[in-house]
C-alpha cells in the first residue's frame, strides 16, 4: 500500500510457511494464490469428515497465535455438534497489542490464505457464517480483504455449495471502532453484535454460547492462516516444524532498539538470543541490551540475563513471562524502565474499557503515579504502592486486560527496582539526563 513500508524482515534463518507467498508480485490476488497451492487444502478438507479436520488440527500442535496459546483443535472440539442456534466462525483481526504487527501482512499480502483457513474452520465445526473482525485502524486492509472476498465469491469459493461439496459458507468483514478491549474475544462478540465492546462473563465460553447466543469459534488471523498448510501437508509435518507441543512456525515482530526491525517467520522454540543477535542483528550502536518484552506489552519483561530461552509457549512461561502475540520489543541500556512502565500503563489506562473496578481505577491510578514518579515527583512509598496496586488488579478483573496491565508493571517493579530507587535519590530521571525540580 502506498505510504506504508513493507514490514517484512528478511533473514536466512527464517522458515517460511505462512509468509511464503508474501514476496510474490500481486500476492493478494486470487489468481496468484491459485497458482501457489491456493484452495487445495479446502478441496482436501471438504473431502474428509469435519471431525477428521478437527483431529488433524489438534494433532498438529497448533496453538492460538493471539496470545493465550490454547490448542486450536481442542478449542474447535468444544463446539457442540448439534446446536439449535446457528454456529459461527469469527476471525479476530483486531490486532492491537503494542509491539505486534503480524496480522497486518497476513491480510495485506495473502488474504486468501486467511479466507481459506476460515472456510476450513467453518467446515470443521459445521458453521455456515464467518466474520472477520478487523480493527478500526486497519481500514486499508479492509479493502484488500473485501476485494479478496469478492473474488472468492465470484469464483465459488464462498457462497452456496462450495466446490460442489454441498457445504455453504458465507464470510464478511466487520470493523471495530478503535478499542483494544475488542481484541478480547467476548468483547469482540459484543462489538460484532452492535453492543458496546464490554467483555462477557465466562463461563459460558463462546464455543458453547457466543455470537448471537450460538456456538462460536474465535481464532486469530495467524492461527487461521496456518490451517491450510496443516491440512495440505499433514499434522505430523506441521508439528515437526516447531518444538514439542508447539507446532509450526510463527511470525515474530522485532522492534525497538534492534538493527534490523521487522517481521520474521521463525520456527516455534527458536532461541531468543539468536533471534535478537542473528536475526535482528543485535542492539544498534554497540549498546548493551537491558530488557526484552517477549510477546507484546502485556507480557512481563525479561532482563538481558534471561534471554537464553526457547521462544515457545511453555519455555517462556517457565521463566515467568509469556510468548503472547509475538511482539518482541528490545530495549537498550539507555532506556528508562520507569518511563517504560509509565508508557505501558498509559496505554492500558487509555484502553481499559471501564467495565470493572480494579482495571478501570487501577490502571488510571498507576498511570498517574508512574508518570509523576518519572517526571520528578517521586515519593518514597510509590514503588511499594504501585506494586501493591498492580497486585490488587492482577487476577481480580473480569477479563484479561487487567492482568495484561498489571503483569508488565509488576515485572518492571521487581526486576528494575534499582531504577526506581535512583529516581527517588536523584529527584530526576537519570536516563534522560534532565534535571527536574522536586516540588
Amino acid at each position: 500500500m502506498p505510504g506504508y513500508d513493507n514490514p517484512m524482515g528478511n533473514s536466512p534463518l527464517e522458515v517460511k510457511v505462512i509468509s511464503k507467498r508474501f514476496a510474490l508480485p500481486n500476492s493478494a490476488s486470487l489468481d496468484v494464490y491459485l497458482q501457489h497451492d491456493g484452495y487445495q487444502a479446502l478441496k482436501k478438507a471438504l473431502a474428509t469428515k469435519p471431525e477428521d479436520v478437527i483431529n488433524e488440527v489438534k494433532n498438529s500442535g497448533l496453538r492460538g497465535r493471539g496470545g493465550a496459546g490454547f490448542n486450536t483443535g481442542m478449542k474447535w472440539s468444544f463446539v457442540p455438534k448439534q446446536s439449535a442456534k446457528l454456529k459461527y466462525v469469527v476471525c479476530n483481526a483486531d490486532e492491537s497489542e503494542p509491539g505486534t504487527c503480524k496480522d497486518r501482512p497476513l491480510m495485506e499480502y495473502d488474504p486468501h490464505q486467511l479466507i481459506e483457513g476460515i472456510i476450513i474452520s467453518g467446515y470443521a465445526i459445521q458453521a455456515h457464517q464467518g466474520f472477520i473482525y478487523v480493527r478500526g485502524e486497519y481500514r486499508y486492509l479492509l479493502e484488500i480483504v473485501d476485494r479478496a472476498l469478492a473474488e472468492a465469491y465470484a469464483r465459488g469459493y464462498l457462497g452456496k455449495n462450495l466446490l460442489g461439496s454441498g457445504f455453504d459458507f458465507d464470510l464478511c468483514t466487520h470493523t471495530g471502532a478503535g478499542a483494544y478491549e475488542c481484541g478480547e474475544e467476548t468483547a469482540l462478540l459484543n462489538s460484532l453484535e452492535g453492543l458496546r465492546g464490554y467483555p462477557r462473563i465466562k463461563p459460558p465460553f463462546p464455543a458453547v454460547l457466543g455470537l448471537y447466543g450460538g456456538p462460536t469459534v474465535i481464532n486469530n488471523v495467524e492461527t487461521l492462516s496456518n490451517i491450510p498448510h496443516i491440512i495440505l501437508n499433514g499434522a505430523g509435518w506441521y508439528a515437526k516444524l516447531g518444538s514439542p507441543k508447539n507446532g509450526g512456525t510463527r511470525l515474530f515482530c522485532l522492534s525497538g532498539h534492534i538493527s534490523r526491525p521487522g517481521i520474521y517467520e521463525l520456527p516455534m522454540g527458536f532461541p531468543l538470543r539468536r533471534m535478537i543477535e542473528e536475526v535482528g542483528g543485535g542492539v544498534p550502536r554497540g549498546k548493551r541490551l537491558k530488557a526484552v518484552i517477549p510477546g507484546g506489552s502485556s507480557c512481563p519483561v525479561l532482563t538481558a540475563e534471561e534471554i537464553d530461552v526457547a521462544m515457545d509457549y511453555d519455555s517462556v512461561a517457565k521463566i515467568g513471562s509469556m510468548l503472547g502475540s509475538g511482539g518482541v520489543v528490545i530495549m537498550d541500556e539507555d532506556t528508562c524502565m520507569v518511563k517504560v512502565a509509565g508508557r505501558i500503563m498509559r496505554f492500558y489506562a487509555h484502553e481499559s474499557c471501564g467495565w470493572c473496578i480494579p482495571c478501570r481505577e487501577g490502571t488510571s491510578w498507576l498511570k498517574r503515579l508512574l508518570e509523576r514518579f518519572h517526571s520528578g515527583g517521586a515519593l518514597p512509598d510509590d514503588p511499594d504502592t504501585a506494586l501493591d496496586v498492580a497486585y490488587n488488579i492482577l487476577g481480580k478483573t473480569l477479563c484479561p486486560l487487567g492482568d495484561a496491565a498489571a503483569m508488565p508493571t509488576i515485572s518492571i517493579l521487581q526486576k528494575f527496582r534499582h531504577e526506581f530507587e535512583e529516581h527517588l535519590k536523584l529527584g530526576y530521571c537519570p536516563y534522560e539526563k534532565k534535571a527536574v525540580s522536586v516540588a
Binding site: Q129, E143, D146, R147, A150, E351, L398
Partner: protein, 783 residues
Amino acid sequence: MKDQTHKSQFVILDLPPKPENLHVPGPYTRSPSLSPQLNPAAEPVSVTIDGKEVKVPAGTLLIEAAKQAGIEIPSYCYYPGLTLQGACRMCLVAIEKMPKLQTACTTVVAKGMVVHTETEEVKNARKAMLEFLLTNHPLDCPVCDKGGECELQDAVFRYGAAETRFMEPKLHHEERKFSSLVYYDWPRCILCYRCVRVCDEGLDVNAYGIGFRGAHSEIIPNRGEKLECEECGMCIDVCPVGALTSGTYRYKTRPWEMTYSGTICNHCGDGCKTTLSVRNNEIVRANNRDHSGFNGEFLCVKGRFGWDFVNSDQRLTAPLIRKNGKQESGTWEEALGVVADRLNDVLKQHGPASVAVIGSNRTTNEENYLLGRLTRTVLGTNNLDHHRTADYGSLVRALTEVKATDRYATIQNIYEAPSILVVGNDPTHQHPLVAYQIRQAVRQHNAHLYLLNSREIKLQRQATHSVTVRTSGEPDAIRALAGIQAPHAGLVVGGTGDFDSFREGLLEESDTVIIFGDEIRGKDVADLVRWGLALPGRTRFVALGDYANSRGAADMGLLPDVLPGYLPLPEQAARERFEAAWQFRIPTEPGRDIRSILQGAQSGEIKALLVFGSNPVKTFHLPKEQLSKLAFLMVAELFPTETAEAADVVLPATSFAEKSGTVTNSCGQVQVLKKPMRKAGTRSDLEILLALAGRLGHKWAYQSSDDVLREIIAQVPGYAIALPNLLIGRAVATQPAGTPPELASADLIFSSRDSLFTSGTLSRYSWALNSVDEAKRPHGHIF
C-alpha cells in the same frame, strides 16, 4: 449491518453481497446466559460456605446461597432480578480447588463446593476494591444526599479502607441535570450499571447508556443531553451511592432526620406500598427501599414524586362559606353548622329525594362505608354514586353467577402467571405496576402476553400475540373470541397475527390472568368471564379502575342500587343486614346514578348536593352554571377545584398522608394507610362525616377508623379479613360475592385515561409531575 459510510474516502469496490447472505438471527437483545436460571426440577445442591452447609436449588448463584446461610457477601453491581455484570468485583470469594478468587454473583453453585468468604485474601481483595472505588470518589459525604444510607459508606465502614494511598489529583466532571427530577453527579458514580439495567430490563425504557471509556466512563442519557423516559426515578432508587439524586429530595435533609411511614400511594388503582419520609411535618421523599409490599422497590413517577400535592401552597386549610355570593373563610364550627342547617332545610322542604351525594375514588374504605351510611340513613336517600372507572359490579356478578369468586387475580398473580391477556387499557400509563409485573413475568418467566386493544400501546413490545381492533372494538372482539358472534369485516386493523391464531394461542395456555379496562363493561364482562373460565387451567380476572380506592368505592357500595359488599339494594335481606347494623331504615327505591344526579341538579329536582373528594365539573365536563341551580352545594376537598369553586361550603379535607384507614386496589387487595403527618386546619372525611351525622341528630359510636373497619369486617360480605394480616402491612385479598343489579347504562363506566404524569385533579397541584418535559408531550407518547 456494517456501517458503509467510511468507504467514501476510498476506492469503491465490488463488495461481496453481504446483507442477503448473513446468517444472523432477528432482533436480539442480551445474552440469555446473563440472567440466572433456577432449575427447581433438578436435585438441590449442597454447598459449604464458611463451614456452614446449605442446600439450595440447582442454578442458584453463590451470593444467594450465602444469603440463605446467613452470610452477606458485599456487592454493588449484583441486583436481584437484573442481569449479571461481574463488574464491581466486590463479591470475590475463595472457592476451594479454584486458582483465583471468584465472583460470587456470577458463580452458580456446584455440588460439594467449599467456599470461604472471610479469608485474609478475600478481605484484602474487598479492601482493595474499596480503595479503588474511593480513588476518584469525592468523599463529599457530609453534603451527599446518600450519606447515612450509602452502600459505599457502609462497606468502607465494615471493611475499613479508611486510609488511602492515592496521591494523584481526583478526576472530576461537573454535575449534570438529566431532568427536573434526576441529577447525575459523575464523581460519586461507581459504575455498577444498576440504573442502566433497571431502566432497560425493568422499565423497558432504556434511557441510559455508558459514554466514554475507562476511568472516564460515565452514565449518559441514550437520547440527547436529557433523559427522555418515564421519569419513574427507579434509577435513583437503585443507585447504591449518591450519584443519581432526586430533584425533589436533594440537599433537603439527612436520612436520620426523617420519620418513615409505610403507606399506600394515592394515585392509580395498583396500590403500591410507599414509604413516606417526613421531616417537620412535610413529606420530603417517597420510596420503598425496604421492598415491603407487592411492588418491591417499584414506584412510578406519581408514586415516587407525585406526592408533593400534599405540600402544595394551594391546599385549603380553612372552611370556605359563601356569604353574599363570595366564598369566605370561616371556622369549622360555623361551616358544619351551615351544612347541617341548609341540609335540614332542604330535607324539610323537598324531602330526601332532593338530596344527593357524590363520593370519591380516593377516600378510604371506612370513609366510603360511613358515607353510604350517612346518605342512606341520615339523609334517607339512595342518591349516591361516584365516578366509576371500571365495572367491578359486573365482574362480581359474573363470577358469583358461576360460583367462581375465587378467581380474582392479585398483583402477585400477574407476575406469576404463565399467560396474561390484557383487553383494552394502557397499563404503562394508567397502571404502571401492572405493566411492570407483566414485563417481569415475560422477561423472567417467559410468560406469554396477549394484547387486545384498539390503541397502539407500549406493552406490544412484550406481546406474544397482539391484535389491534378498530376504536371501541374490544367488546366485539371479545364476542368474536368467545364465538358468540363472528368478527365482522374491519374489526381487526393490526397486530402480530390474525384473530384465529390469537384465540388458538390462548386455548393452548393455562392459568391465564385476564386484565381488562373500562372498554369492557356490563354484559361484555359476563361474556369475557364466561369465555375466560372455559380456558384451560385456573383463569383469573382483574378489572382496572383508575384511582387508589376506585375498587373500594364500589366494594363499599357508593352506588345508587348496591349496598356494601355488592348486595343488591332492592333485595330485602340485603337491606335488613345493614338496617340491623345501622339501626335505621334504608329507603327501598334505588337512587339516582351520577349522571342522573348531575342532570337533576340542572333540572332542579336535586336541591342539595354533597361532594366528597371528587371534581364532577371537570370529570363530566359540566358547564359552570350546571350546579348553580342547586339550593345547596357542599364540597369536601383538598384544593379549590372547579366543583369547589361553585360550592356554598367547602370543607378542607386531609390528604392520604394525613389520615389512617384502608384502601382496596384494583385487584381487591386491602392495605392500610398510615398517618405520618398532620395538616393544620384540615379534617379527614371520616371526621367530617362523624361531625355531620352528629349535627343531624344521629349518634354514631365510632371513635376512629379502626372501629369502622371492624364493622366492615363484620358486615361487608367478602371483607371478612384477618385484621393481624392487615396490620402487619400485608395486602389482604378480598373475594366479594354478590349479585348487584345489572349495569344500567354503559356510559356510567369510563376511565379518565390518565397518563403517567396525570392523576385526575390532584396532579395539577404537583410541581414534580408538571415539571418534567415528558408531561408536556401528547398523551400516549411511548419512550
